[in-house]
Symmetry: C2
Subunit: 664 residues, 2 copies
Amino acid sequence: MIKRYRFGTPIETGAVMEKGEEQDRRELFITQTEDGFCYRMSDAMIVYGLGENTRGINKRGWSYISCCTDDPRHSEGTRSLYGAHNFLLLSDRECHTGLFIDTPGKVTFDVGCSQYDLLQIKVEDACDLYVIVGDSAPSVVQQFRSLIGRSYIPPRWAFGYGQSRWGYQSSEDIREVVRRHREQKLPLDSVYLDIDYMERYKDFTINRETFPDFEALAAEMKKEHIHLVPIIDGGVKVEEGYDVYEEGVQEGYFCKDEDGNDYIVGVWPGKCCFPDMLNEKAGKWFGRKYGRLLEKGIDGFWNDMNEPAIFYSQQRLEQVFNELDAYRNQNLSIDSFFKFQNLAPSLSNNEEDYRAFYHNYRGQRIRHDKVHNLFGFYMTRFAAEAFEELEPQKRILLFSRASYIGMHRYAGIWQGDNRSWWSHLLMNIKMMPSLNMCGFLYTGADLGGFGEDATEDLVIRWLSFGIFTPLMRNHSAIGTRRQEAYQFARTDLFRNVLRIRYRLLPYLYSEYMKAALNNTMMFQPLAFVYPEDARASRIEDQLMLGENIMIAPVYEQNAEGRVVYLPERMKMLRFRTDGSIEESIWENGFSYVDMPLGEVCIFVRDHYLLPLAEGGEYVEEVDFEHLKLYSCGEEVKPYEYYTDNGETKEYLLEKHIRILTHNH
Amino acid sequence: MIKRYRFGTPIETGAVMEKGEEQDRRELFITQTEDGFCYRMSDAMIVYGLGENTRGINKRGWSYISCCTDDPRHSEGTRSLYGAHNFLLLSDRECHTGLFIDTPGKVTFDVGCSQYDLLQIKVEDACDLYVIVGDSAPSVVQQFRSLIGRSYIPPRWAFGYGQSRWGYQSSEDIREVVRRHREQKLPLDSVYLDIDYMERYKDFTINRETFPDFEALAAEMKKEHIHLVPIIDGGVKVEEGYDVYEEGVQEGYFCKDEDGNDYIVGVWPGKCCFPDMLNEKAGKWFGRKYGRLLEKGIDGFWNDMNEPAIFYSQQRLEQVFNELDAYRNQNLSIDSFFKFQNLAPSLSNNEEDYRAFYHNYRGQRIRHDKVHNLFGFYMTRFAAEAFEELEPQKRILLFSRASYIGMHRYAGIWQGDNRSWWSHLLMNIKMMPSLNMCGFLYTGADLGGFGEDATEDLVIRWLSFGIFTPLMRNHSAIGTRRQEAYQFARTDLFRNVLRIRYRLLPYLYSEYMKAALNNTMMFQPLAFVYPEDARASRIEDQLMLGENIMIAPVYEQNAEGRVVYLPERMKMLRFRTDGSIEESIWENGFSYVDMPLGEVCIFVRDHYLLPLAEGGEYVEEVDFEHLKLYSCGEEVKPYEYYTDNGETKEYLLEKHIRILTHNH
């Protein structure tokens, strides 16, 4: 049951499919406060949700701010990441209640941070509050997901392994990456193009000095079963003669400052304008520009820097130079030094800048901060809508860094710029169910970590988890240690891990499609499947993947295995480094399981089966028809196997599901 | 067996007690490389050591740099912390070998980071290399500890709980902290004075506006059984009329720049000079200044900022202002913006500054970077030596932020400025045995975390571990959430946890003294006690504390318990929140143990006992004579109980040890 309560006159976000009737606020089960809502949580209550965020699957004990933020240095103490996902699920024995705060501005969720038993929500602007009541946590999620609409479905090739790096400088660099994967029999389906491929970081351009043969390269790669996936940034370079910039100026498509002039910020290319992604005309115009790359043979994109990230605003930069001068010849002590030192750093993503420019949204002039969390969403939505126009028959890969609920219908997200930290691997694990709740199914983190230097064991362990995430991309930043699968001593371990991905593809794709079409979660906390099991409800480092299996990744350095909690008897499949699979039965309870580097363990639930393919070096090579079934125990539940050609847009379950039974 | 190999003519550090004869380098078991050493590690080898550092008890998989660094924002990716502890212990079934690189400059330890099976040590200058071979890991440690000499022993009151905060601005603030602890029956033995107590951050001064009655305050506190522990910084403010500065200038006691002028850096007070801590005359002069505070009734100190931390050097600051100008009116793009933005931040702890000033060490002019890791050590050593002169009969509390091996004879360390992160609680746990190996027994972290806001559960969990560490101090930074035990809703939980500390004091003090006098470790990895147990050897989040007990702290948010590995059958004592103790027997293997917030679980080894006192609100109130013994199983090993008056400097074991048997 979903009820909507309205507070003020909120700006339309496009998050939900149908608003439903407004309810009487006096019936609201949470307390309205001066600036939001407040609720006393029971001791046993677990609070799920908030999508892309730090900390646990259980969000209790921290305060989070929904405000799309480019923070590549995020850590345990961070409150805002790249996305803004205002969905919470309060769950204890008596109550399973979802809350969705639909508002495009800032929202603070203090989940027992200031006071351990108080949930305090602060909403800066008007909002619609949706309250979703169900008799279980999954039922609340399913209702919420049906409210916000079907999740994005990528082409099937996008479930293959992708290699990326900021720093692939030329066509030759790309060819080398592919060659070395193929030589070493390391499976691969895509190579990502970071900002290096553009001419002076201008959207929709090609650096013809370093990528002279871009179209030929794309065609050549297609023959090798490799898809090139270029990046598109949220800002358009200010440059005379650059047609996108000039059109934007001429048509008035850019965001404006208070006085109506194009608002200038600094991002990768230096001075840029932001297309007014909320203005339908501007958005459509920008979306259609993707066609230039489609024409060159491209069939996938990632939208970046669309929080939008601001390195500096032209206005503030001038101010900072003046302020810096004032510190000259002072005795810089505790009172002044840190202010001085922080001046230039404080230029980036400065709150005041977000209050200094304006959108034209549905005919109204609206200050950016009031709709901040929609920028990346609408940029992505207009791209997706352009694809519908330009390539109506084709699934195009699309994912974004910034997001808001609603965008999940148009694209996936990656989990933003992270670091080569073990704790970021763990965060990646914990984020999966939280994102699934909010509709984001096509997602994954930068495997191996984007910033800082990765070690071999970290990359192997991260890939060993990444083989389960729909988006499986190894990505790293320029200046950091190279972390492609062929860069380390033990290539055989990498090969083994990557091959497991391709054996799992039929199951992963099937579970993805069913989750998208049934509004269910692909990754669930154990509590969702074993609600009566108090131990299971507190497990934060294992996940249910689809209906049939449980995973328990290793995320600690130098670990040779880990303790796994089995909520029931299960069969463990151990994928050995020689390609064989060892099967063993594990009983209910905590057990220590050896998990040497390069091996992967998967737990098949009792009475369930796991279908496996033979594998392949790219998705097209995988045989989705002839599967080997691994099952646990007797009376094995027949498996509803979804399969299609990976391209069609007719997603009907009835048509594409077939039943696999153990005697198949 | 200890062998010393010499490479070049190293600068004397004072780390070891007796050098022993130089050995023939051709016999060395590790390979000498161009700039250091190299060794191929077996797959099973665990590498212990490196004292204060990030990452695991097993140091494999990362690269560490011994270079004392003020880094309050350290994280998993950090390579240098506040101390420099060049001791490694390589351990597998065949080999237990210690390595100590004795050199006062920078050393890099790449422990399988660049290549997973290679230990690569890079030494910038000449060194003595000590190789210590034993038949077990503990035997190597004991030999090494006897090489470097007996660890510092603080007064017994310093095992009480201490409250600290940068931001206690006045005598009244101090009184309030004490009053609120006493009112709430929260045990307390000391209050720390951060830089706020000084006049304009000048060492050895008192801000008489805010602490007009400093001497009276100290006396009043003593009556309340509270010790005030002021901070002393490594830099001396440049200020006309400030006698310490003027004496330093006049006597030539400050570090000099290339041209022989006093080298000026910016720290808390703004412009400062560094006393030449390596110059015996200057060091003695600075050490005797502590007498000013001893006279005021002070009997404990913490030395800070003595890496030494540099916010900026006068020279570089001017340069940065000029460079900043050059960026004016540029299009700041990817190529220039980050350089611009990083200019002011790069002022702090800049490597070039450490190459720009000089010491007069044993009559020789030596550039600072060549002896960098000795600065904090010698500052602290000269203070300790002054105490011997000024208060020969008294144990004075002394601990430092920066350190080098050798300093452990003179003082303890705290684990530097950390953050209110769960991962820093875990790091605190892992650091304990690593520091003990290197001689640092009196140590602990800033409980609750220094930087950023702490949550109630984090502080309770951190204190629940902190009750085991010799230095038990709750410390936080100005501007962060207050985190004294009385600041949160559930004071009763805090009270229970703190009281357990005072019940444990006889055991903790006894184990501390035995570890100091026998050159053993108070905190050991499980592997040291159960070397045959392969599971135990990989446990990174449990510790053996003394000979008799094992601890398994909770360090994850929202956890209601944790999995504990028992290498053998043990008795668990559960300290309930009502003050009672529940006893239960747990068998060998992995078990899940409920550990609700505010309860503490301690595991007593089979055939061992744990003596407990009744407790008290301060150390003096604890009855160290009448103990209750909790034992596990039959044939309980008699306990060698060390006790003295906590003040004497006659530490003879024979005199102070008595045997407790279960029928005592």
